[in-house]
Symmetry: C2
Subunit: 396 residues, 2 copies
């Protein structure tokens, strides 16, 4: 029986529920005192660990640990450090120094790669270490899991924003003719797709959803915008931040370079896909409108977190500890969907190695072939994660 | 006794609670059947009225009317039409045609000007019309009222966003060093000021608040950003969209024109103050960071509406009808603050003419003289309107 201390870290961008996973880990470690003597937290992930920035999580007050469930962002602090060859030896020394035998990280595929490599290095060096990963990312592009904790809450933020801004755009169409909402998610279209949950009727926002899985074609986009305008008198566009032209160049950077001759401006990150679309619609049609770039607000809006997302995140943390004390190493906890209606889920596992190498773009069946929108199959997948949205009335 | 029909319209930008005022008007009109026979709604404000786009509000189902309290945006549709001389005669004909004797508009100072001029024209032409205004604007720059319905909910959206993004920025400081949040509010600083409610401790966001009432000085801004970074390792900046240099030119437009030599880009509205500040910090210090431009999301986030704001908006609508049936014409309902702790308010009136001409910038006593921030007096004013914000825990 492996006995020693445990450590947990958080990596990459935060979510509204990543601290709920942390809570699940801390609370569950306390249930196995014969195997896990104490639990440490890494400040700022592996980067802070290498500087011995540790927190004694076993000494935290229970009410603080419990309140982590509803506290957004990464309570331990985060990093984006990519492990270098020369990092492994000092990491092993620290693991020995603190007698750490259970190693947990909450993160995305880069994070799973980090655990996988540390665990493999320790095995090679003859140091017994159990490493288990806990999934997290608002992007939802993690391989082997039905969805990631954090996605549902971010998706709800997106859908709620597009719903509310759509009602406003409808009522203001005599003044402004369009609204563009940009989501995070890099090359994955899950978050822009989630906006579709806001739509109940044909007129409702959004009218156009641009996912990075499909190339942006200017003419086609303008035609669809014009069609929506002709039908409703206003247009709602949702775009992923990473939407690209067919040649792979992002519409954010390219457009600024091409249209305004200022390379540096785009390169400094001072532009965005939504801004480019805004300008395209303004210049082409003479419409007035606005672009909404909420960025990391999507990752930390705890007041809009999905209760089920909080619960799943906590359960993933709990299961990670259970797997570890049972001797399972080199795996990530996964979420399996058992049923859509009523929504039911259970937990599984996937090898860290596969998760580290894989990714999960939106399947073809979720993206409309003939227009910039998502399919009913996609909506069936999304709805249980986004949850019920508020009903707003319309006058008869 | 004046007997006839009533009409109500909504003008300018929406808020999360403007429909609550509409609800108050509809529900109260029904209490005076001897004076108000029916109540009509103007679609798209005075612009729609002139096209006879009317809704029979008396015929709406009571549950729809009641649900207006929690439905954001302008259920009647809005406009930004400025009355021209040639508009008055046709408006009077329509008032006669529908036997409208009670005229209500919910809006800002332009709207109050519209009521005032229509009421004056009718008096000159010998047509008895009672006109009463109901205040509304997220900008909170309306003269003669302690605050405007709609401001508290928008202010809460701002404070909530800055609170959550601040926690995220703190936890992510090893990756990104700053975050800039831009508010709406044009030349008024009330909304950026509201972000200060997010701050409980010295390290908390925001560190810098830029209100349009004070000129932007580049060196001073950079010095304050550097000081916050040196102290905390990250910086939170909140800026009003209308922040200007000392010469009155907005930092959004000027910076793009000056720095990137592209006049059209700024003129098309494709830039923003936050983006300019983002670029300034990136170029000067080499920091990574993000800008958040949420635009009208601040005006329609009904799930973040302040309950008291909803109630005040409803009460303003109710009082407008009461004033009208008592024969008071040419006034706007105002909110008076009777006490900060516990928060207590009552209703008053102000002449439409004064409201139309006046505005309410932030008083000097609310703005720090020596740094880009607001004073304790400002916070005392803001806190009851923004309400309690969630408590998030920190590990010990």
């Amino acid at each position: 029986m492996l006995t020693g201390n445990a450590i947990i870290g958080q990596s990459g961008g935060p979510t509204s529920v990543i601290n709920s996973s942390l809570c699940g880990v801390i609370q569950t470690c306390a249930k196995y005192p014969d195997k896990i003597q104490n639990i440490y937290g890494m400040r700022y992930g592996i980067e802070g660990f290498m500087q011995e920035m540790l927190i004694d999580l076993g000494a935290q007050r229970p009410e603080v640990v419990e309140a982590l469930k509803t506290t957004p962002s990464s309570a331990l602090g985060s990093c984006r450090h990519k492990m270098q060859e020369q990092d492994f030896a000092p990491v092993l020394e620290l693991l020995k120094k603190y007698n750490i035998r259970y190693y947990f990280l909450i993160g995305g595929n880069d994070t799973m790669d980090t655990i996988h490599r540390i665990e493999a290095y320790c095995r090679k060096e003859g140091y017994d270490l159990v490493g288990v990963g806990i999934p997290k990312t608002v992007d939802n592009d993690l391989f082997a899991t039905d969805h990631t904790p954090g996605f549902g809450s971010a998706a709800r933020y997106v859908a709620m924003s597009v719903l509310q801004a759509g009602i406003l755009a409808r009522d203001m169409k005599k003044v402004d003719q369009f609204v563009v909402f940009q989501t995070v998610g890099r090359s994955a279209g899950w978050l822009p797709a989630a906006a579709a949950c806001a739509k109940r009727n044909e007129e409702d926002a959004p009218h156009i959803i641009l996912v990075p899985e499909r190339p942006f074609e200017t003419e086609r986009f303008l035609n669809e915008a014009k069609a929506a305008y002709d039908q409703h008198g206003w247009v709602s566009v949702v775009c992923g931040e990473g939407v690209c032209f067919a040649d792979g160049s992002p519409i954010s950077a390219t457009a600024v370079n091409d249209r305004f001759g200022n390379k540096e401006f785009g390169a400094m990150g001072g532009t965005s896909a939504a801004m480019v679309l805004h300008q395209l619609l303004t210049k082409t049609f003479g419409w007035r409108g606005e672009f909404q770039v909420t960025e990391s607000l999507q990752m930390c809006a705890a007041d809009r977190a999905m209760p089920n997302d909080i619960q799943e995140a906590w359960a993933c943390g709990k299961r990670a500890v259970e797997l570890a004390v049972e001797g399972n190493s080199g795996v990530m906890v996964t979420i399996q969907r058992d049923s859509n209606v009523p929504y039911a889920w259970s937990l599984g596992t996937a090898p860290l190695k596969e998760v580290a190498l894989g990714e999960k773009p939106m399947p073809d069946a979720f993206i409309c072939p003939d227009r910039y929108f998502v399919t009913d199959a996609c909506l069936e997948y999304l709805r249980p994660l986004v949850g019920e949205l508020p009903e707003y009335v319309r006058l008869d």
